[in-house]
C-alpha cells in the first residue's frame, strides 16, 4: 500500500438547484468552503454538473490558493459537491484531493466525504482481488468501487448507495454527484455531522450549519444517521437504509472541531462550550475556597469555555492574549537560536492584564502538551502570579478511528502521565479536566447519542 491509511477530518458541501436557477453553484461552494475551512486546510475541490457533464477543479492548499476567478468561471452547473481536506500525513501532492471523479459505462460519478472507514483494509483487499487498482491512499476510491459494483448488480444508483451503506463500516458523511443527481448519506452511527438547508429553490447540504449561514441559506434539519438524501434539480427525497446502530456523534465536534456558530444535531457548539466552562467552574466552587483573579481562554479554542467559567464563578473574564493573524504557514525562522524567541510572535500575553494576577487558563484539550508549555512560559514572563489550567474535556487517552487525526496512544500525554504529573511537568499551579460525567451536560439536547471513545476507550464499532 502506498502509505498507511490516512485518517482525515474534512468538510463537505453540496447543492442542488433547478436548471434555470440563478443560484451559482461554484461561487456558492467556494464561499461555503471558506466557512468550512477550519475542517481541512490541505486540499480543496469543487465538482459541478450541468446535467450533461461534470466539471471539476481541485488541488492542494487553502481554498483561496486552489481557486481563482478563472477556475470558478469554468465550473458551470446546477448541482455540485465540494470538499476541504485535512491530511495527517501529506502524501504525494494533489493525489488525495477530493472530490474523486471517475467514469464508468459512459457516466461520470464524483464523490467526497468526511470520516474514515474501519473496514477499509478488508474492502481494499477484496477489491484488489477482483482486479481493482488504487491511485490514492484514501477511502473515497473504495467507496466508489463498492457503489459501482452494486450498481452493476442492481442497475440503480439509489439501490447501490443503500447497499454501500451496509458494506461500508465506520464514519462517513458522503456526497455523490452524477450528471443529474446529488446524493448525501450519513453513516448509521452518525459519527460525523451533516445537515440540510434551503436557499430559494436550491437545496444545500453541509458538514456544519455555518456553511449554510455563509451563503444565507436556512437550516432545515440534520441528516439522520443511516439516511440517504437524493436531490434532483432542487427536489429532495429521503431513503431509509433501515440500518439501526448506536448513534454516536463525535462529541469532539462540540468540544473543538466545529465552529462555535454551528448547531449540530440540535445543540449549539458555542453553548456546549460555555456549558463545559460552567461545569469546570462549578467543580472549582465545590472544591473549596480557591478562585482565581481572572479567567482567560486560550485563543481561539478556549474562549467560549472561559466565558462559561466566568459566568458560573463570577471570576472576571479577560482578554489576556493577542494572536497574530498575519502569520501564515510559511513563517521563516532563522536557523540559529532565535527560534525560541520567534514563537512568541504567534501569541503574546498582555502584561497589563495578567501582571500580579492569579490567572485561570481554559483550553479544550491537552494532546501532546506543546501549547500549554508555551503559554505557561509567556504568562510567567508577563508577570502572572499563579497559572492554573482547566481543560474543557476529560483526559484524552484513546485513539480515534472515525476520521480525526489523533496520534497513537503513546503520544497522548494523558495516557502516560497522571494529572498531577502533567501539572508538575508544565509548572502549572493547578490543573483539572472536565469530569467524564459532565459530558452528559454539554451534550444535553442532542437528538442522537454521542461517541466518547477517545475518553472511555469504548468504541461503538469493532476496530479492524
Amino acid at each position: 500500500m502506498i502509505n498507511d491509511i490516512l485518517h482525515e477530518e474534512c468538510g463537505v458541501f453540496g447543492t442542488s438547484s433547478p436548471p434555470d436557477t440563478d443560484f451559482q453553484a461554484a461561487y456558492s461552494s467556494y464561499t461555503a468552503l471558506f466557512a468550512l475551512q477550519h475542517r481541512g486546510q490541505h486540499s480543496a475541490g469543487i465538482a459541478v454538473s450541468d446535467g450533461k457533464k461534470i466539471s471539476y477543479k481541485k488541488g492542494d492548499g487553502l481554498v483561496h490558493e486552489v481557486f481563482d476567478g478563472k477556475s470558478l468561471e469554468l465550473l458551470h452547473g446546477h448541482e455540485s459537491i465540494s470538499h476541504v481536506r485535512y491530511a495527517s500525513k501529506q502524501g504525494t501532492s494533489g493525489v488525495n484531493a477530493q472530490p474523486i471523479v471517475i467514469s464508468h459505462g459512459g457516466d461520470e460519478i464524483a464523490l467526497c466525504f468526511n470520516g474514515a472507514l474501519t473496514n477499509s483494509h478488508h474492502l481494499r483487499a477484496e477489491t484488489e482481488e477482483r482486479g481493482g487498482i488504487f491511485q490514492t491512499t484514501g477511502d473515497a476510491e473504495i467507496m466508489l468501487y463498492i457503489i459501482v459494483r452494486a450498481f452493476l448488480k442492481t442497475g440503480s444508483l439509489e439501490s447501490a448507495v443503500l447497499i454501500a451503506m451496509r458494506e461500508l463500516q465506520g464514519a462517513f458523511s458522503i456526497l455523490i454527484l452524477t450528471k443529474n443527481k446529488m446524493i448525501a448519506m450519513r453513516d448509521p452511527h452518525g459519527f460525523r455531522p451533516l445537515c440540510v438547508g434551503k436557499l430559494g429553490s436550491s437545496m444545500i447540504v453541509a458538514s456544519e450549519s455555518c456553511g449554510l449561514d455563509s451563503i444565507g441559506a436556512v437550516m432545515l434539519r440534520d441528516v439522520a444517521p443511516g439516511e440517504v438524501l437524493v436531490f434532483e434539480q432542487g427536489k429532495m427525497r429521503s431513503l431509509d437504509s433501515g440500518i439501526k446502530a448506536s448513534e454516536s456523534l463525535c462529541i469532539f465536534e462540540h468540544i473543538y472541531f466545529a465552529r462555535p456558530d454551528s448547531v449540530i444535531d440540535g445543540v449549539s457548539v458555542e453553548l456546549a462550550r460555555q456549558e463545559a466552562g460552567r461545569c469546570l467552574g462549578r467543580v472549582d466552587m465545590e472544591d473549596g475556597d480557591f478562585l482565581p483573579d481572572i479567567v482567560i481562554g486560550v485563543p481561539d479554542s478556549g474562549l467560549s469555555a472561559a466565558l462559561g467559567y466566568s459566568q458560573q464563578t463570577g471570576v472576571p473574564y479577560a482578554n489576556g492574549f493577542i494572536k497574530n493573524r498575519y502569520i501564515g504557514r510559511t513563517f521563516i525562522q532563522s536557523s540559529q537560536g532565535q527560534r525560541e524567541q520567534s514563537v512568541r510572535i504567534k501569541l503574546n500575553a498582555m502584561s497589563s492584564v495578567v501582571k500580579g494576577k492569579r490567572v485561570m487558563m481554559i483550553d479544550d484539550s491537552i494532546v501532546r502538551g506543546t501549547t500549554i508549555a508555551h503559554i505557561v512560559s509567556i504568562l510567567r514572563e508577563a508577570g502572572a502570579k499563579e497559572v492554573h489550567f482547566r481543560i474543557s474535556s476529560p483526559p484524552f487517552k484513546y485513539p480515534c478511528f472515525f476520521g480525526t487525526d489523533i496520534p497513537s496512544r503513546d503520544q497522548l500525554i494523558a495516557n502516560r502521565m497522571t494529572v498531577d504529573e502533567i501539572a508538575r511537568k508544565f509548572d502549572i499551579d493547578s490543573l483539572k479536566y472536565l469530569r467524564f460525567s459532565d459530558l452528559d451536560k454539554i451534550s444535553a439536547g442532542l437528538t442522537c447519542g454521542y461517541c466518547h471513545a477517545c475518553f472511555s476507550g469504548k468504541y461503538s464499532l469493532p476496530i479492524q
Copy 2:
C-alpha cells in the same frame, strides 16, 4: 505631481547591535514586522548595514509575501531599519515602499517613517527649485533632501538631523540607517508613538511595544517628543532638539490603531479600551433603567471596550460573532447577485447567543457606516430582539493631517448627520458615543498630552 500627497499610517522597527553579535537583524526585523503588520499591509521593507554597506529588500504586499528565506539570508548586518506601510491610494507598484535608500557622496542613507508632513508642499517646491527630483509621492524623499542639504552645510549627520527636526513640520517618527549608525527621531509634538527597548546587547526601536515583545526584547521607555536617539553598535546616545511644542499623541492609537498588548506613552492600549467601555456603561447606568441582556464587541476592535462595559454594568459579555480568518484580500465574488450573500462569509452572528436578546454592540468608531449596517442586518436575521450600539470614541467629525488615512469631511457620517439620524438610518434601537470629556479618563496616565483634533477640530499645528 505624480499623485496627490498620500497620507499613510505605518509601522517602523530598528535595531543596533555590536558587530560580533549573534543577534540576527534581518530575521528579527521580519518577525517584528509581523507584530506591526496591523499598522500597514501594502508594502514592507528591511534595510541592514554590516558596517560597510547597506543591503535591502522591499516590495508591495504583506510581510510574508515580500520576504522569503533567500531574501532574508542575503541581508547581513548588525544595524537595521524596517517598515510596513498602509497606503490610502495604491500608487504605481512598489515605488512608494520604504525604506528609501539613497547614495550621496559615496555614503548610503536609508530612511523610513510613520506620520505625515504638514509642510510637504512647501518643502517639495523648494527642493524642486534647487534642482531636486522626486521619484515617489511620499514624504520620505523630502526628508532625505532636507537631511542631505543640512549635512552638506554642517558636515555632521547628527547636526543635520537636528536641523531637519526644525524644518520638517507635522507628524513623524523617523528611522535612519547609515553604514555605521541607526538614528531614531520623534517629532516635537509626539503625534506618532515610538519606543525603545533592549535584548541582550542589542538596542531596539519600534512603533509599538508589541514589536519589542515579539522578539523577546524588554521595553525601556518611549522616545520623547522632539528627541533624537543615535545608536552605534548597540550603544545609545540621546540628543535633545530643544524644540518645545504641545505634546499631542494621537489618541486614536489607543482607541483603534495600536495593538491591545502595546503600552504607548505609559498607557496600556487594552486597559484604555476597557476604560472607554466602562465610561459608556457608566453613562447607560446613569441614564436610567435600560440595560441590555448581553454586550458584544464588534470583532476585533470592539472586544476590549465590550469587556469594560460588562465589567461596569454587570451585563453579561458574549461572543456573538465569528470572524472568518481564512478570508484574504482576494475573495472572489461572482459578478451576479450573490454578492450580498457572500459578505456574510466574513462575519457570522451566532443565533444561539443573540436570539430573542436585547443586544448591546460596542465598536470603536463609525466612519462611513458600512460595517454597522451589515452588523445590524445579520443580528436582526439571527433573531436579536433589540440592537443597541455604543461607540468607544466621540463622533469623528474632522479630517486628520497627521498620518492616518481619514476620508474628507463630507465622507465622515458624523459630520453630516446627528446621532439620532444615524441611529434611524441604520435601524438601531439606541446609539451613544463616548463623551468628549471621557477622553481624559481613557488617557489618564499618559506621559504626554494627546491630539483630539478629529473630534474637536482643534489642530496642534497650522495645516497648509
Copy 3:
C-alpha cells in the same frame, strides 16, 4: 466517458542502476525530459523507486514549471520512469499527467507510455463490466488494469506484461516501474520509437537517442518491436513476446516529430530530412529549367530539408527568417485589431536576404495551412519576387490513430484541395510535395518497416 479518447504524442525515459550507484535517477530524468520536451509540453512527471517504495511528482506544464529543486531532492531511488505529454485537448488540470501510480495488493506500480491503443473502447468497456473505474481519459489506466488482471492470474509481472502485449492493440512504447524493477516494452508493430543505452553501470531507456545524449549515455540499440526488456539494478533481460506483426515505425518521426540529432531504428533524423530535401531538388532539376535564387527552410522544421535541397541543386541556402525565442505560450494580445500585426513578432523575414529574390521555401508538411499563409504574406512584404514552396512529405490525407494528434480528415487541407488549388489559395508561385515513392529513399537503412497510413490510407491494423 469523461471526454473523447485523447490521442497523444509523448516522450518516455527510464533508468535502472545498482542500489549503491552515484547515478542520480531524478536529476538525470529531469535533464533528459528537457531533451525530450519537443515530444510533449502539456505535462511532465517522474517516478523513482528506492527498492522499498515509489515516490513521484507530476503536473501540468513544461518540465521547468513542474519541477523545482525541492521536488527533485525528494525523489530518491535507483530505478525510475518519466514522461512528457502532449494533449490534443486539455482536460481537467493535472488528471492525465503520467506516470500513473497505483497500488495493488500492497505493491505499487507506475506506468507511462507513448502511443495510442486502437482497442481502447473495447478494453475500457470490458474493464468497466468487471467493476473497474476510470479516473483519467487516457489509455494508461487501461494498460494497468490489463496488467493487474493478468498478474492476478499468473502471479508473475513478466508473464502479465507478455499477456498485455497481446491484449493491447495499437501503438505503445510503455515503461513500467515497480518497487524493484523497471520494464520497457514496444508494441509488435514498433509504431513509436524506443531505444536503450548505457551510462556507467546504469541502463537507460528513452523515446529518442537525444535523451541518452543529454546525460552522456551511449546508445546500445533500439528496442525491437514486440520486445520486453526487464531491468533490475542495472541488469537487463530481454523477453520475446513471440508476436509477429508488420513492422510499422511512424515515418513522421523522421519527417517532423523527432529531434534532428536523434537516430531512430538505424536512421539519422537529420540525414533523412536532408535526403527529403535532395529528393525535392532532384525533381525540380528533372522538371526543367526553373531554379530559385535562394532556398530557405521554415524554422526550425524545414531547415534540414532546405540544406539537402541546396546540396542537390546548388541553389544557395539562406537564413531568411528570425524566430523569436522569447515568445512563450502566454503572449498577450490586445483585444483590438493589432492582432494581425503582432503575429509577426514570432517570425520575421529578413528583407536584406529575400528582397528581389525568387525564394524557395521548404517545410515538412501542410496540415491546415495557417503557417504557410503567414509566411507567404511576410515574404511578399519583405520584397520577395517569387515565393515557391516544397513540402518534404507527401500530401497528408488520412488521420492517424497511433498516437499523434492529427485533425480529422475534413480538417486536412490536402484532403479537400488539389495541389494546384492549395497553391492558388495561398498565392504561391509553385508548390510541390515529396513523391510518395521517395519515402523509400528517406527511410533507407531503417531496421524495420515504416507506417505511411497518413499518406496512403493503408493502416497496418484494423481501426475500431
Copy 4:
C-alpha cells in the same frame, strides 16, 4: 556609492500618436520589447502618457514575466517609451529598472536609455554637491538631474535636452517622455543604434529596425549622431545639436549584439556577418590547400558567418548542433558530479553529421573561452576527425566603456595569450581570427564611422 557603475547593454522603444488613434501604445511596446529582448533580459518597463499623466509599470525579469494582461490594460495613452535592460551585476531587485519616472514642479518626466556615460563620476559628484540624492546605481538619474537643471535655467525642455547633449559624455541613445511629448536623442558619436519608423499616423523609435518590423512599422531612417527628435501626437521635429564628433557606431552591434534581421546605419546585420564569414574563407583559400569537410556555425551567433564561409569556399554548410530551446534560466543541477554531463543538455552535437569529418566551426568572438572548450569536447566525442575554429571578429583585447558589459582586460583571453596558445589550450587543430583590416569590408556601406576600440584600444573619447 551603492555599487560600482554598471555598464549595460539595453534596448529602447518609443511611440507617438495622435490622441484619437487606435494605435495601442502599451500593447505595441510590449510586442516590440519581445523583438528587442536579446538586448536585455534583466528588467523591462513601459511608460505611457495620455496627455494628462504618465502611467508606468516596470520590474525585474523578462518581458513576459514583468507584464500581464491586467498591467497592460492599465497603461493608457498615445505616447510611450519602453525599455529592456541587461545588467552586468544584479543590484537590489527592481531598483535599476527603467524608465525612471520623476516629478518636478508638477510635471512628470520619464527617461530610459541605451549606453553608458564616461563622465558619470564627475556629473554624479557635482550633482551631489548641489544636494542631489541618488536612488539607483545607473546613469538615468544623472541624465534627469542634468535635464531638470537645464530646464530650470531655460524654461524649455527642448533647450534643456540640447544642453544635456553637451554635458553628457559617452554613449547614449535616450528616450524621454513627458505629459505631451516623446523625445529621442542619440549621442554625437552615435555609439548605440537608434532608428525611426512609421505605422499609420504613429511615429516609432527603436534601438533596432527589428523592433519596427515586429509591429508592422516601416523604417524611415536612422537617428543621426547628435540629433534630437521631438514627437508630439505623431508629428516629428528634428533639432540639430550642432555638435560634431567622430562618428563611432559600435561595430560589435553588427558582429554580435544586434538581431540579424536588423539594418543599422545602412548595413544589414545578416549580410555583414555573412561578409565576415566570406573574409575568413578568403584567407583560408589564400593560405593554401587546407579546406575542411564541413563548416558549422556555433548556434545562433555563428550561423550567418558560417554561411558566408561556405559561400566563399564551397565547403558544405552543415547543421551540426541542436540547441535546446526549453532550457530557461532556472535549470536545476544536482549538487553532485552530474554537473558536467548536464551541460550538454543545452547544446548537443549531431554525430551523424560530424563523425569522421574535418569540422570548421565559426563563432563571433572568444571572450573567456568557456563556450569553445565545451564545443571542442562534444565534437570530439561525437567523432569529429579535426576541429578548426574561425572567429568572425579580430581578437578582443580592450575593455569597452560605451555600454556593453565587457570584462576587465585581464579576463580577456586574447589579452593574455597568443592565437597559438589559445588553440593549444583548447585543443583546436587550427584557429584564426578576422583580420582587423577586414572590419572595413563588413562595415562597407555604413552611413557613419565605427568604433573598434575593443580591438585596437583607440577610444573616440577620453575615458575618465
